[in-house]
C-alpha cells in the first residue's frame, strides 16, 4: 500500500490483485504437456528401434547369392542309355546335382579326380538345383547334350558367408564354410560368376528346409484365403448383428447380457478360439486340418466381436435427428436404417472391419492349434488344402537353426508389416472417402 503515497491524487490506484493461482495453473498445464510429449517420444523411439532392427536384419533376405556358370547337360549323366522316349521316369530321376557340381568345378578348375575338392564344391550349391535343372530338362528335352548358362542357387551357408553374416575370424573347424570355399567364392566373384540377385523366391516359394529355397508363397495364399473368408463372413454377420442389437432389439436384461458377453469375447485370448475351432470345426464337423477354411472360420469368430463393437459405436454416433427426420417423413424403421443411418455409419464400420482384419492377419496362436503350423511345399489350390499363414511361417522360421533363416524371418516380418500398412492405409482412405459432415 505504499503506492497510495506515491501516486498523485490516489485515483490511479488499482485494488490489489487477488492471487487466483494463474501461474500455478499454467505450470500444471505445461507439466501435463511435457508428460504427453515425453510419452509420445518414448513410443516413437521404440517404434523406430523395432523398424530399424527388423529392416536392418531383414532387407538382405530379398537378395540371394547365385552362381552363374555354363552348365553342360551331358547326355552321359542324364540318360546314358537313351531311354527317355520309353521311360518318362528317366528324366525325373536323373542325377542333376552332378551336372551342377561339374559345371562349378570346371569354372573353378577343380580336377575330376579330386574327390574331397568335388565334395567341397558340391556343398557350395543348393540342393534345390536338382528341381531347378530337372524342370528345365523336362520342359525342354532338346537341351540335353548342349551347354546353357544357368544361375544356380548358392547353398545357404555360402549365401550367408557372401553377405558377411558368417564371422571368418573363427577357426576353420568351427565355421560352416572352409577357407577353400571362401577362396573359391572370391574367385567366382572376380570372374563375375557369383553375385547377389533379387530373391523372388522368398515371395513365391513354398516351405523348404533349405533356407535359400524357402519362401512365404504358401503362407501368402493361405493368409489371402483366410482374409477372404473372414471378410465375407464377419462383415455381413457382424453388421447385421449390430444393427439388430442397436436398432431393433428390446432393451432388457437379456440383451444387456449379450452386450456384456460380446465385450468380453473381444478380450478372450485368441488361443481359446483355436481350441474352440479344433473341437468344433475339426473334431466335431470333420473339416480337414491345416486348411485355411478352418483358419478363416476361427479368425471370423475372433474378429466378430471387434466388428460388432465398432459397428455399434458407429451406429450410435449417427445423430438421432437424422433418424427423426426419416421417420417423420414416413420412412419405415428398415428404410431409415438402410437409407440414412447405415451410410453415415459406414466410415466407422469399414475402419472397424479393416482393423479387425489386420488383427486377424497377424494372429498366430489359434492357427497353431488347428494344425496350420505345417510344412507345406505346394501351393494350396482351394481353401480346403493344407496351407500355412504368414505369422505362422515367421514363427516356424524363427525356430530354424540355419543362419540364413534369421534374415528370412525378418524378411517375412517385413512382408507382413507391409501388408498391415497397406490395410491400415486402406482404412484411412476409405474413411476419408465416405466421411460426410452433417
Amino acid at each position: 500500500m505504499t503506492d497510495v503515497v506515491s501516486s498523485p491524487a490516489g485515483v490511479l490506484d488499482k485494488p490489489a490483485r487477488r492471487d487466483i493461482g494463474i501461474k500455478r495453473r499454467y505450470r500444471a498445464e505445461r507439466r501435463f504437456r511435457a508428460y504427453g510429449v515425453a510419452a509420445l517420444s518414448f513410443g516413437l523411439l521404440f517404434l523406430a528401434l523395432l523398424l530399424w532392427s527388423v529392416v536392418s536384419k531383414g532387407y538382405t533376405a530379398f537378395q540371394q547369392t547365385m552362381i552363374t556358370v555354363p552348365v553342360e547337360f551331358s547326355e552321359q549323366v542324364i540318360d546314358k542309355d537313351n531311354e527317355r522316349a520309353t521311360d518318362p521316369q528317366k528324366l525325373m530321376t536323373a542325377n542333376y546335382p552332378i551336372i551342377a557340381r561339374n559345371a562349378v568345378a570346371k569354372a573353378l578348375g577343380v580336377a575330376e579326380t579330386d574327390t574331397s575338392g568335388l565334395r567341397a564344391v558340391n556343398q557350395m550349391i543348393s540342393n534345390s538345383v536338382r528341381s531347378q535343372l530337372r524342370d528345365m530338362v523336362v520342359a525342354n528335352p532338346q537341351i540335353i547334350g548342349t551347354t546353357q548358362t544357368v544361375s544356380l542357387l548358392a547353398a545357404g551357408d555360402i549365401d550367408s558367408a557372401w553377405k558377411g553374416q558368417i564371422d571368418l575370424n573363427v577357426t576353420e573347424q568351427n565355421r560352416k564354410v572352409s577357407d577353400q570355399q571362401v577362396g573359391w567364392m572370391n574367385k567366382l566373384a572376380e570372374a563375375g560368376a557369383l553375385a547377389k540377385h533379387f530373391n523372388g523366391g522368398i515371395l513365391f516359394n513354398g516351405a523348404s528346409s533349405r533356407p535359400e529355397a524357402a519362401g512365404v508363397g504358401v503362407a501368402l495364399i493361405g493368409s489371402f484365403y483366410m482374409m477372404l473368408i473372414v471378410l465375407v463372413l464377419s462383415l455381413p454377420i457382424g453388421v447385421a448383428a449390430s444393427i439388430y442389437l442397436e436398432e431393433f432389439a428390446p432393451k432388457n436384461k437379456f440383451t444387456d447380457l449379450i452386450e456384456v458377453n460380446i465385450n468380453n469375447l473381444a478380450a478372450v485370448p485368441s488361443i481359446v478360439y483355436g481350441l474352440l475351432g479344433l473341437a468344433v470345426f475339426v473334431n466335431f464337423m470333420g473339416m480337414p486340418r491345416s486348411a485355411s477354411l478352418v483358419g478363416g472360420l476361427v479368425l471370423t469368430l475372433m474378429t466378430l466381436p471387434t466388428i460388432i463393437i465398432a459397428t455399434r459405436a458407429a451406429l450410435k454416433a449417427v445423430p438421432p435427428s437424422i433418424r427423426a427426420a426419416a421417420l417423420g417423413l414416413g420412412a419405415s424403421k428398415m428404410q431409415t436404417i438402410f437409407h440414412h443411418v447405415l451410410p453415415l455409419a459406414m466410415p466407422g464400420i469399414l475402419t472397424g472391419t479393416i482393423i479387425g482384419l489386420a488383427h486377424a492377419l497377424g494372429e498366430t496362436a489359434p492357427l497353431l492349434l488347428i494344425g496350420m503350423v505345417a510344412f507345406v511345399a505346394n501351393y494350396p489350390t482351394t481353401p480346403m488344402d493344407p496351407s500355412t499363414a504368414l505369422p505362422v511361417q515367421i514363427y516356424m522360421w524363427a525356430n530354424e537353426a540355419e543362419r540364413a533363416f534369421v534374415e528370412r524371418t525378418s524378411g517375412a516380418i517385413i512382408i507382413l508389416l507391409l501388408f498391415l500398412i497397406v490395410m491400415n492405409v486402406g482404412a484411412i482412405l476409405l474413411r476419408r472417402r465416405f466421411e460426410r459432415r452433417w
Partner: protein, 271 residues
C-alpha cells in the same frame, strides 16, 4: 383462390375454421415415460386449415402432445400413450392404422434443422420416392420444384439443387425441412419449435411461410415465444405441468384469457 383478395382468403379460412371441422381430435390423452406421467387427460382438438399454437413453460408437455399426433413417441423406449386421438375420425393408435401411413399424412418439422447429408434435390425427393408418389423423373422434378416453391426456397436454391443440403444457412435449412415435409403432401404439419435455432430474419421468413401454408395444411406448432404464437396462430393452447390449461382463439387468449394461469404466464409472472 388467386381470384380472391388476400383478406377474402383469410376470411374464408376463418369461416371454415369456425365451422368446427376438426382435423384431429385428442380425447383424454395421457402419456407416460416409464413410471413418470407426462400428460394428464388432455382434450384438445385441432381445427382444419388452422395454425394451432401450443405454448407453456418448459417441460409442460406441449412437445409430448405434439409427438403423440404422429406417433413419434413410439420411437422412445418405455413411452406409453392412453386415450384416443383421431385423424379424420380414424383412431391413429388403432392396430389397423399403419404408423408409416400416418406419418405420410401427418408430417413433422423439428426444432433443429435436420436435412439429410445429401443434395437439396435428394432431400426433397426422398419422401415422395419411398411413398411412390412420382412415376418418373419429370414427375419428381415437378414435386421438388413445387415443394421448394411452397417453402419459398426455390429462387434461392434453383441453381444448386444438386449441392449439399447441409451447406445452406440455418434458416434455409429449416425451410428445406419444411419443403421436405410438404413434398409428401401431408394433411397436417407438426412443427416443434421450428424457429428456436434461427435468427430473427430467418424466423420472420419461416413465420410468413407458416402463414401461407395454412391455406393448404393444418398446422400445429409448439413455440416458446408468445409473440410468435400471437403472430402465426389462430388458436392457442396453453399447457402447464402436463395439463391443458386453456384452449382458445389466439386473439382472446392474449387479451382476455379465461384462466388465471394463462394470464400469469402471458404476463410473464412465471415460466
Amino acid at each position: 383462390m388467386n381470384m380472391m383478395s388476400e383478406a377474402a382468403v383469410e376470411k374464408a379460412l376463418d369461416k371454415k375454421m369456425n365451422d368446427m371441422s376438426y382435423k384431429m381430435i385428442g380425447n383424454d390423452v395421457s402419456v407416460y415415460y416409464g413410471e413418470k406421467r407426462a400428460l394428464f387427460d388432455v382434450n384438445l382438438n385441432v381445427r382444419e386449415n388452422t395454425v394451432t399454437a401450443l405454448i407453456g413453460p418448459s417441460g409442460c408437455g406441449k412437445s409430448t402432445f405434439l409427438r403423440t399426433l404422429n406417433r413419434m413417441n413410439d420411437t422412445i423406449e418405455g413411452c406409453r400413450v392412453t386415450g384416443k386421438i383421431t385423424l379424420d375420425n380414424d383412431d391413429i393408435y388403432d392396430k389397423e392404422i399403419d404408423v408409416v401411413e400416418l406419418r405420410a399424412r401427418v408430417g413433422m418439422v423439428f426444432q433443429k434443422p435436420n436435412p439429410f447429408p445429401k443434395s437439396i434435390y435428394e432431400n426433397i425427393a426422398y419422401g415422395p420416392r419411398i411413398h411412390g408418389l412420382a412415376k418418373n423423373k419429370a414427375d419428381m422434378d415437378q414435386i421438388v420444384e413445387a415443394s421448394l416453391q411452397r417453402a419459398g426456397l426455390w429462387t434461392e436454391v434453383k441453381d444448386r439443387l444438386h449441392e449439399g443440403g447441409t451447406g445452406l444457412s440455418g434458416g434455409q435449412q429449416q425451410r428445406l425441412c419444411i419443403a421436405r415435409a410438404v413434398a409428401v403432401s401431408p394433411e397436417v404439419i407438426l412443427m416443434d419449435e421450428p424457429c428456436s435455432a434461427l435468427d430473427p430474419i430467418a424466423t420472420a421468413k419461416v413465420e410468413e411461410l407458416i402463414h401461407e401454408l395454412r391455406a393448404n395444411y393444418t398446422i400445429v406448432i409448439v413455440t416458446h415465444s408468445m409473440q410468435q404464437a400471437a403472430r402465426v396462430s389462430q388458436r392457442t393452447a396453453m399447457f402447464h405441468l402436463g395439463q391443458l390449461v386453456e384452449e382458445n382463439d389466439t386473439d382472446k387468449m392474449f387479451t382476455n384469457p379465461d384462466d388465471q394461469r394463462t394470464q400469469d404466464y402471458i404476463m410473464g409472472r412465471f415460466g
